[in-house]
Amino acid sequence: MPLFGKSQKGPADVVKALKEAVNSLEKGDKKAEKAQEDVSKNLVLIKNMLYGTSDAEPQADIIVAQLAQELYNSNLLLLLIQNLNRIDFEGKKDVAQVFNNILRRQIGTRSPTVEYICTKSEILFTLMTGYEHQEIALNCGTMLRECARYEALAKIMLYSDDFYNFFRYVEVSTFDIASDAFSTFKELLTRHKLLCADFLEMNYDKVFTHYQRLLNSENYVTRRQSLKLLGELLLDRHNFTVMTRYISNPDNLKLMMNMLKERSRNIQFEAFHVFKVFVANPNKPKPILDILLRNQEKLVEFLVRFHTDRAEDEQFNDEKAYLIRQIRELKPIPGH
């Protein structure tokens, strides 16, 4: 017990105090102002236990373990996230820092917080809906991306219905929120290769129907980003099955051909990288072949004049020349 100053509060006390303060903040009663203060104060205490301060080292492992256990038992993480919009600006950032630190905690090969969140998936879904509230969207974003690093948590998010809300979030009018949502969306779809490949295969129709909407979005940034991500997804070896399926659908080919003619040169260029896969496919299904044959001359003519100023880009020119040759040499399947 220190001789001077207040006695040091243990993790249990701090967590209890914080929980009471958040509850009181939630009710919004007269003591709200006092509650706000208590929340901030206790959050700083917890943060200092985990990260230390300029004068003090982080607490010993045993204290941190106690703290984590208290956080799980009290269900405080969820409570904090649910009331994130009521907490003041600095407090929101502290919540995210505490959350991310606790999440990364390891005992041997186990990640106890990840296991805990697996049993409390509401935490993830609450974080995801955070994108609907401007004042907390970015805080939730940092926590979500930290969660997405863990395959078990990414899986829960991908396979939830709430995942499809991302198709809406990436298009919201506030640019910083839309971009933050897009980076989380991309992380979920690309981070864990096998998980993502399985997910895309199993939910092919649903995902790509939604994806089509992004490609047709009114918003230029959404269109361009989603087209670029589509190219990356299809060309990733892990998604081979998805790619073969995607390039067998004539509607997808039509969409790409239209995007080749978009006003934006950047979109044209990204579309080229998806379009080339359709043409390079050695086993083109008949509907695809038919479309290409019907447009054979126009396509050749178009490609010859396509982005001629990219003389420096050797690879692009090689690919373009290859496509032109391929299209020129296309022949209908005999017997039809």
Binding site: Q106, T109, R237, V277, A280, Q315
Partner: protein
């Protein structure tokens, strides 16, 4: 592209243009008046202590000339060196710095991007040299094409390419790295890293490898010598000279050619199989790499390539007792003889040694110093300082002469100071007697000679 190449230096000796960077030219009284050629070569030898790049030339010379004919005994303080101004050289927008290392294809030097002020490394390839290597030019072209497509934190990034057709040189500008994992290993007494450090590198290797495989690239030559490190400790997979890209529509990853470094080749290649699954080749060599950086040994050894391949082909090896679980299990999984049974990247990722951060058991191995510089200061800076701040008249007349003894003295101090730095804890007493001499750094550029 020729316009990009410009030389600030007014006069360039043919030697210098050849890339034999004469940071300093030294000559001495013994040779004055004798054949110019020998003079140059031997002078290079006497500067070996700083500039090791010419050692090969010197060896050649030894065979040709009977050197004793030229030698007269001269006291070291009679030999006088003169300091020469460093000449600033620009290639495109890049300012040339000092030599970082040498590969089979050419030199690697430091550079500074004069627009972005970003440190870079440049691989200088000479067509003359490339032609001597079988498939040299072809491989380089293929590698460049491949590198242009790749962009990942753990794969070396090709920033820019410049060509000088007159000199038949190609400059590949890359991210700046301090050295390879092999160099770092060589700097340790028992050629291995503490587990926590090896773990950090292995995680990054797997990240980079996963990216390469997702881009359908099989590296085929994963080994510590091909894993570079940046100053921040990021690992970069490099040297895609023998890498193979599998076709976008290939049903599987079957390969037919294996041409990496023998000690890191899997049994299927050692046994000369006609075809084998490609991705598993990289898993095997990553396994050998992990084995190597955690134990200091190789799982398979042999006096010559036949013995080595015989031993690999059998697939019998042992893991030192000091390696406990779960690392032992991971190594066994990656060094599984049958490619089908060998771990894949997913299994490695989920392995308990992978997911668990090993506790810090012993001190982190630091980067070995480059030519005595522990901090890897930017070597471009002295050139810039000389170019912009040095008054040429000043430096020509002031005390710019050194005797052999002074040179040796400063070299000795340099070595001492390195040792001192290495054990900086205890060395404070030892090193307090003298200051790190400034002269030994400025001595770097020692040109033409004067007789004393």
């Amino acid at each position: 592209m020729d316009n990009n190449m410009c030389n600030i230096t007014k006069s360039f000796e043919s030697e210098e243009a050849d890339g034999t960077d004469q940071e300093k030219e030294i000559s001495n009284v013994i040779f004055s008046g004798k054949d110019e050629l020998e003079l140059g070569e031997s002078a290079e030898n006497s500067e070996l202590w700083i500039n090791q790049e010419n050692s090969v030339d010197f060896d050649d010379d030894l065979e040709n000339i009977n050197i004793t004919n030229f030698f007269h005994r001269v006291d070291s303080d009679q030999i006088i060196y003169q300091k020469k101004k460093r000449k600033l050289k620009l290639v495109g927008k890049y300012v040339m710095g000092d030599l970082l290392g040498e590969g089979s294809y050419g030199k690697v030097k430091e550079m500074l991007d004069s627009e972005m002020l970003c440190r870079r490394a440049v691989k200088i390839l000479k067509q003359k040299k490339l032609r001597r290597i079988p498939n040299g030019e072809q491989n380089v072209q293929r590698e460049i094409k491949l590198l242009r497509k790749l962009k990942h934190k753990n794969v070396i990034n090709l920033v820019d390419e410049l060509y000088n057709h007159d000199k038949q040189k190609m400059y590949l500008i890359m991210e700046f790295c301090v050295g390879s994992l092999q160099g770092l290993l060589d700097s340790t007494p028992d050629k291995k890293f503490p587990h926590h450090q090896a773990h950090g590198y292995f995680l990054q290797l797997i990240d980079g490898l996963e990216y390469l495989h997702s881009m359908r690239v099989i590296h085929k030559d994963i080994k510590p010598g091909n894993l570079l490190l940046t100053l921040e400790g990021d690992l970069k997979i490099t040297d895609l000279g023998v890498a193979e890209t599998i076709d976008l529509f290939a049903k599987d990853d079957t390969c037919y050619i294996g041409q990496g470094s023998p000690a890191f080749q899997p049994p299927e290649i050692a046994n000369g199989l006609e075809s084998f699954p490609g991705f598993k080749v990289d898993i095997w060599s990553s396994g050998v790499t992990l084995y190597n950086i955690t134990t200091g040994f190789y799982p398979f050894e042999g006096d010559n390539i036949y013995r080595l391949f015989e031993s690999i082909g059998k697939g019998d090896y042992s893991i030192p007792d000091e390696i406990g679980e779960p690392l032992r299990n991971l190594l066994t999984g990656m060094l599984e003889k049958e490619p089908q049974n060998r771990f894949n990247l997913q299994q490695i990722r989920q392995h308990s040694w992978f997911t668990r951060r090993p506790s810090i058991s012993s001190a982190h191995v630091p980067f070995p110093p480059l030519k005595g510089d522990t901090w890897h200061n930017m070597t471009v800076l002295p050139y810039l300082i000389d170019h912009y701040y040095d008054d040429p008249c000043d430096s020509a007349n002031e005390a710019q002469y050194f005797t052999e003894r002074e040179l040796n003295e400063s070299e000795r101090r340099n070595v001492e100071s390195d040792n001192g730095n290495a054990q900086s804890n205890q060395s404070s007493k030892r090193s307090s007697g003298w200051k790190k001499p400034i002269s030994c750094i400025s001595v770097r550029s020692l040109p033409g000679c004067k007789q004393s």
